[in-house]
Symmetry: C2
Subunit: 363 residues, 2 copies
């Protein structure tokens, strides 16, 4: 079949060479006669693989030794509950930045955790989330402030952290832009990211947490406790072996490609190409303000819902797949994660130009 380009927001495109390696060694992992799906998580086959994955992730993100790296299950949504369960202490007063749909889901889930008091300290509701929220000077000290670094649906992203969040303990949801650009891990108390966007297959969540924040007197069910998971190196029970394995291959691929700096360069180039086209097009339009634009998720519209639908269907037929925007906002979205190739963006723009011509350049 013809080459396709997969713009899915997640699960998303993986590096071609990684998919081929998984295939080639699927039946016998490291010549063991067993598939990676069949190996015991108490064997050195597993523990060596897991240790290498963690080591490479530490290199890529420059994670200091005083941070634990956990490979958990349940996606970002379970983290929405685990963060307040584990990190709310003292007055249980926690602050959230409402930057879009997933930030709101994080707030809703925190509100379902007993005794937690959530303050929304900033919101971009007034611009319908086409900007990032203005974060004011905070008068209180919170147990933590939760920040969604990249808003997958709305297409906004913090290229830099808000000034007024300094001196607060930051929890960062990096699900859709982890390792898409350099962040300083030490600016955060905890970082989490579902793997299925910019890391690997669905079914694994990376949590990076400063060890001193973990309270070993906290009585939580084991699977909900960072300190218990950290004590068992994420193998408190059977870990999601296959997902960790593929993520490990992606980490190795990232290092071989030149690491996070190189990814950032490539992502900036890919995103710039598409934003420049969108800003010059008389048909397509990027709703997000220039200073808030995401590197990894780029929503765009024609302004005509029917035309949007036709575009999505025609693009799909031409091998440009999964360009439909999230159901909550409509329109189109191109997700340009680390593994998404530059030529895919070129093909998309060529297709958009032809489409624009075919409809006369007018909405």
């Amino acid at each position: 079949m013809a080459q396709i380009y997969n713009f899915s927001a997640g699960p998303a495109v993986l590096p071609v060479s990684v998919v081929h390696q998984v295939q080639s060694e699927l039946v016998s992992y490291k010549n063991s006669g067993m598939s990676i799906m069949e190996i015991s998580h108490r064997s050195s086959l597993y523990t060596d693989m897991e240790a290498e994955a963690e080591e490479n992730l530490r290199k890529l993100m420059r994670i200091p030794a005083e941070y634990d790296v956990l490979f958990l299950q349940g996606g970002g949504t379970l983290q929405f509950a685990m963060v307040p369960l584990n990190l709310a202490k003292g007055n249980n007063q926690v602050g959230y930045i409402d930057s879009g749909h997933w930030a709101q889901r994080a707030i809703e889930e925190a509100q379902l955790v007993p005794k937690i008091k959530t303050d929304v300290v900033a919101s971009a509701a007034s611009t319908n989330y086409t900007t990032l929220p203005e974060v004011p000077k905070l008068k209180k000290q919170y147990d933590y402030i939760h920040l969604t670094l990249n808003n997958t649906i709305e297409g906004t992203m913090y290229r830099k952290l808000p000034e007024n969040l300094k001196h607060q303990l930051l929890v960062g949801d990096m699900s859709s832009n982890i390792m898409a650009q350099r962040y300083n891990v030490e600016d955060f108390g905890l970082i989490y990211a579902g793997a299925q966007k910019n890391i690997g297959p669905a079914g694994m969540t990376v949590v990076i947490v400063k060890h001193e924040l973990l309270d070993d007197k906290l009585e939580l069910p084991a699977m909900l406790s960072y300190v218990k998971q950290a004590a068992k190196h994420s193998a408190l029970n059977t870990p999601p072996v296959f997902a960790i394995y593929v993520a490990g291959l992606v980490f190795k691929w990232l290092l071989e490609q030149g690491g996070v700096e190189e990814m950032q360069k490539r992502n900036e180039k890919k995103a710039e190409l598409l934003y420049n086209y969108l800003d010059s097009s008389s048909l397509f339009n990027a709703p997000v303000t220039k200073d808030a634009r995401s590197l990894t998720n780029i929503p765009f519209v024609t302004g005509n819902a029917e035309l949007d639908q036709r575009f999505i269907a025609d693009a799909q037929e031409s091998g440009l797949v999964n360009l439909k925007g999230h159901r909550s906002v409509g329109g189109m979205r191109a997700s340009l994660y680390n593994a998404f190739p530059f030529e895919g963006v070129q093909k998309l723009i060529e297709f958009m130009e032809r489409f624009e011509q075919s409809v006369g350049g007018n909405r």
Copy 2:
């Protein structure tokens, strides 16, 4: 490399044809140009696959329509907490049968859920778990009684449900013997099983729950709520696509082989062969009483820890791998799940006979 036989208790051996199918279609699932790891969980590629997996599981286990089937994350250990979080109502008094290590872990986790009162209504501690607990007539009505159908570490299994548990709402942990023999789903309010033993790769947990038990007014974080997961068909957030896909292939394979009855026949034949040998051996010994023996997990010892170690190492070298017993009990364990072939048991017995001769048949 030479053929190996994988006796791992989990992650465990998968059907050879399933592993090969995963390999052959890994780069382009259903000719989509995308790997199964790259497809969106909102696409029909995913929803069709998930629906077929569920349908086949319903056929295999004869699951009535009034039960929800959920494909979750977090393994049995998260279920240890989710069961009391979701099913303890009214007096919050719940009963547990202490049949071994994993039953004890279920109790410990339930005790970490606020407001739950756990009663251990029966225990096999006095026989060091080489028997199943005698369940007395219960005087109280409990919100539920939790039963571990197969004790993976100790090698005991309920071939029939205890008489005195009738008229109680039963929660069954079938992690290591789901579909190894026929159980009647209607005898249970809820059944759960981590996939990585008798179903598929690690990272997916099957939950089968009677819909009327779910309370949609219960305010739990989404990932911990059966009713919220059921409302979204297990796709409340990104599900573990790859693990569900492989489990679905295993379900199809089970149907092709003749379903649960055929598996039970094969498992009985495999287990009988090994138990008969163990009972006749002058070196090896099966510690579990005959009426409590598991079909899927068969522990055995020589009575000499050093000799056990030598046996495990020699067997490993001969391609009989992962025979080491759980660290908490020592000795050996052969896990003979559905996908484990009859000839593997023959090879093991041949090897044990040779080993027995080589050490002179004496301990």
